[in-house]
């Protein structure tokens, strides 16, 4: 493979990491509080607001059931508003974030619900406020689950990022389609797939390692 092509792969990898990294970060910034709220706002819970819970739940479901490629196209005006353009890696971060935030929220909700309800009661019994319960009990206790959720979200984002090539988002998926498929360069397609597999492996292993490190539940057993 020529140095030019290798350079293309390196550049596309950088674009993919940039899009996925920022989208995962922003998705967490929006998805984490949303997930915590979804997990704690049913009737009788910490931030009980059953109606808001149902409305947000419906919005999350709607976003998650929209195919990503349609979401990308559908929100182009919004993307232009936020990013100033609808083309390029930076613009692609907008749909990636909008797709990942509800996904992360649902994963966060599941992880938070795993925390023993007795711990919430215990913290309440010594006068912890709802916010203190979230920050000092729920999130630390759910941390292993949250890290695995984030890992899953990053891996999914890598897959999604391959699709934003359709709107000029760049990245590995775009490279694979344009060179590997349209110019019929199987070695390019193979290289792109190998890099993606390697990235997923690295992300998953790192996530597993971190989750294991913070999990005190099963140590020394």
């Amino acid at each position: 493979m020529s140095p030019e092509l290798i350079n293309l792969i390196i550049q596309a990898t950088g674009e993919s990491l940039y899009m996925v990294g920022i989208a995962a970060l922003l998705g967490t910034v929006f998805g984490l509080p949303l997930g915590v709220f979804l997990a704690t706002s049913r009737k009788g819970e910490l931030f009980a607001a059953p109606l808001v819970n149902r409305v947000l739940g419906a919005i999350v479901n709607a976003t998650r059931s929209t195919p990503f490629i349609i979401l990308v196209v559908a929100i182009i005006p919004f993307t232009r508003l936020v990013a100033g353009t609808s083309i390029g890696s930076t613009a692609a971060i907008v749909p990636l974030t909008i797709a990942s935030a509800p996904f992360i929220a649902r994963l966060v909700e599941a992880a938070i619900r795993e925390v023993d309800g007795g711990l919430i009661e215990t913290a309440s019994s010594f006068g912890a406020s709802p916010i203190q319960i979230v920050l000092k009990v729920l999130i630390p206790e759910a941390l292993p689950g949250l890290l695995l959720a984030l890992t899953l979200a990053v891996v999914s984002l890598l897959g999604y990022s391959a699709m934003v090539g359709a709107v000029g988002g760049g990245g590995l998926g775009d490279l694979g389609i344009r060179y590997g498929y349209q110019r019929f360069m199987p070695e390019m397609m193979l290289a792109v797939v190998v890099v993606l597999i390697a990235l997923v492996q690295i992300v998953q292993s790192a996530g597993d390692y971190l989750a294991r490190r913070v999990n005190r539940r099963l140590r020394h057993r």
């Binding site: 023993d116 007795g118 711990l119 215990t122 010594f126 006068g127 912890a128 406020s129 099963l218």
Partner: protein, 379 residues
Amino acid sequence: MKAASMNAHQSLAIGRPIETLAAISPAPAEPDAMVRFTGISKTYPAYRGKPGVNALQDIDFAIPRGSITGVIGRSGAGKSSLVRLINGLEKPTTGRVIVDGRAISALAGSQLRLAQRSIGMIFQHFNLLSSRTAADNIALPLEIAGWTKTDIKARVTELLALVGIADKHDRYPSELSGGQKQRVGIARALATRPSVLLSDEATSALDPQTTRAILDLLANINRELGVTIVLITHEMSVVRQLAKEVVVLDAGRVVESGHVADIFTHPKHPITQSFLAEVIGDSLPVSLASRIVSDRTAGGQAVIRVQVRGAGAGDTVVARLARELGLDVALLSARIDEIGGQHVGSLVLGIPGSEDAQARVLAWLSQHQFPAEHLGYVA
């Protein structure tokens, strides 16, 4: 100061009946009560197809300051609801709960949270944070109360020593035994120097030996720190070993309450009697029960069960019967235990000889106020 803030709160509580200052702060009227329940009922409304539940009804009693009070009842009797009224985790449907002079049932939000710092609670399943070490678990209520790092560190060290696990400072709950976890739970509950410690079946998940050690620790804490302890339990052995006062709950109502010694030497309600039977047993040994017949046999013995209630009551019954009536009284079976410093139990005696001897024994027992019953005869 306390009364003033309470009053201010009351005036803000729009829609509540106006209460007099005396009703809000009855501490001067009842200085000996740490917890006072007045006209309490608690109803859980029907929800998602489950019918509503009257968990508590007509609850009126006080828990004396500095006491160890056991609240005993079968599961579903309302014990958990009752204890959660004390620290405001639940609100009564009607009535008022006063803790240390404050109407906790009327508090909400940050005022409630402030009051909760003076009420510690320990749990059956310990409820420790798996992500925190023993020391950090104990530190949690102090962090929430806004203590400085230096103060927290000193207090945690002190508490770990108090509960006897100073060497477990950096251990995570998964590395601790059940008894050690509950010690962490106790230290955490005591961290903010509460005046009341609530124990919700705190020893139910522990083996008998560990239970004994934890109950001893609670007794020490009560003695040395003067903390009022409220024990919720379905185990008579816990009440017997630790409590001085007892409240017997059944189907959401208090059926008996008072000094442990009084209640269990003269149990009135069937539930109380059944709890007592768990400790002293009202059944005869199988080998004896199988031999008892209803008709007298030649050379046989009459079998009489004597109830023993009170300090030292049973000690000399057999000897006095033998001496005063000149009979070779046989001791067939005996079970006497100590509850609240009082002897409680029964002796099963074999009386040799005629109907006449049997009648004299029963008369003597009745004269000396020992409840007795004739069970039959053995050969």
